[in-house]
Amino acid sequence: MKGAAFWISIVAVLVAGLVLTRVVSNEYYFNALYVILQGAIMAVAWNVLGGFTGYVNFGSAGFFAIGAYTSIALGKAFGQSLPLPVMIATAAVVCGLIGLSLGYLTLRLKGVYFSIATLAMAIVFETLMNNWSYVGGARGAYILTPDSHLWFNSYIEMLFMVMLLLTLGSVAISRALNASRLGRGLASIRDDEVAAECAGVPTLRLKLISATIMGAMMGVAGAPYPYFVTFVDPASAFSLFVAVNAIAMPMIGGTAHWIGPVIGALLVGTAQQVITVTVSSELNVLVVGVMLVLFITLAPQGIVGLAQKYLARRRR
């Protein structure tokens, strides 16, 4: 997508979002959109390390939950009146550092060990949160909805716009990365790390940058979560479902291109909302797992890959 077209689209989506808040009054839609947008940020974030660099993170829920718990801890320490942007920024820093540290410990080994270590990290953090009574421990924490929701009709509408901004920001960063020298370096690491190193690519440094960006983005996705659900406990925040979605959405959408995770998130997220409402939430959870496995085995390049093949065939 050319630069001008991209930025026009961003503005258009933002405006559409604002219009939505004026026009639609049923809060359910904003709840649903919040969940889809959250999935989109997680998918875009995951793809920075997964699709662009080739290192699979199984512990996405860990970063997400720490982002949420950062908000909770800050709220307890400084009062609920602390503005949301401060929570988000802090979560980005905290989770970015976690990504960096985890990467430093494990990115020098084979990709497989990194993946297992991410799962380990998520469980270790979940255990820590279960045992930290300051943020509620295993019983969880209740978060009061702040009174102020600026000029919006309700708090959820404001949260929706915040998520929309964060999503568009993540997408813009991801796109810039994809097309940059850094992004090409990451792609060479993904394709052949040894050859990349011999071509002058500082592989460890780039992997660490990638892991830090991913961690920070996921923390950002999690920071507003406590205000969305009003009750957070480790079991729900560190849920495997978050981790599976973070992998399934980019893999279904297509991991090589920055737009893949967005497509995947919109498709899978919407499908999930529809299924939850019409059938059941367990089936919803099963569907994403099945879709993931089907796409990986049959269409590993994702929807973007299928589209590219289709267009290539038409050109001939």
Binding site: G185, A187, D191, D192, E197, C198, A199
Partner: protein
């Protein structure tokens, strides 16, 4: 007689209990063509892995153009001007031929960038190698010989002053071998020192100004090709006792 561009001193490398390299010494002069031969398992690939930075030697030192690169990670050696091609080609499979060259141009050769677009520089390299027709093809779908050429092109794009070519001709036909040989000779004429590892004797002997022979991790002979072919130790190493 100029200062050697590469000096390998007393290099030893162990894998657990196995001694892969033992006190290996060699040097390469600027712009020289050095052949590195030896039977299978003699340590040639291990040696060039230590030179390029894919492995670190346990003892000894490696000096390149005055820099001690013994403990330097591979990417820094590439930036200094050490390039290598791989025995089994390792293209960046998601990229086109041209995009494959962007990586070394943007990373290894960054400090030696010219005031032209990267694409132009990449096309120049492709023209030298003879791959410019395939510039926009996906690298994963190339023929064997073209993949070998891409390997060399990528090494070239790093603007090296020393190129290590690891069996670039293995399994190629007679005329394909000549193509690769011509590319390496042309490269050398522009001032790049080349270490060639090869089993195809006529190629090594035609190409090299000097030959080093390894056997079981040790250097057993060194000299001009004419001497090496007459050396009884070399014959014994290849044919056995």
């Amino acid at each position: 007689m100029s200062e050697p561009v590469l000096t390998v001193t007393n290099v030893t490398k162990r894998f657990g209990g196995f001694l892969a390299l033992q006190n290996v010494e060699l040097h390469v002069n600027a712009g020289e063509r050095l052949g590195l031969i030896g039977p299978n398992g003699s340590g040639k690939t291990t040696l060039i892995n230590c030179i390029s930075g894919a492995l670190f030697n346990d003892e000894g030192s490696i000096v390149f153009e005055g820099h001690d690169i013994t403990r330097m990670p591979a990417y820094r050696r590439a930036r200094l001007g050490v390039a290598r091609s791989f025995q089994i080609p390792k293209p960046f499979r998601s990229m086109t031929v041209l995009e494959n060259l962007r990586v070394p141009l943007e990373y290894a050769a960054r400090s030696r960038a010219e005031h032209r677009s990267i694409t132009d520089e990449a096309m120049d390299v492709l023209k030298q190698i003879g791959l410019e027709q395939r510039a926009h093809e996906n690298s994963a779908g190339l023929t064997q010989v073209d993949m070998r050429k891409l390997e060399l092109a990528r090494a070239l794009a790093a603007k090296p002053r020393l190129l290590v070519s690891d069996e670039a001709m293995a399994g190629l036909s007679h005329s394909e071998v000549d193509e690769i040989l011509e590319i390496l000779l042309a490269l050398n004429r522009r001032g790049v020192a080349v270490i060639m590892i090869e089993h195809i004797m006529r190629a090594v002997m035609r190409f090299s100004e000097r030959v080093v022979v390894l056997d079981a991790g040790q250097k057993i002979a060194e000299g001009v090709p004419a001497e090496i072919v007459r050396n009884p130790q070399v014959e014994r190493a290849y044919l056995g006792e």
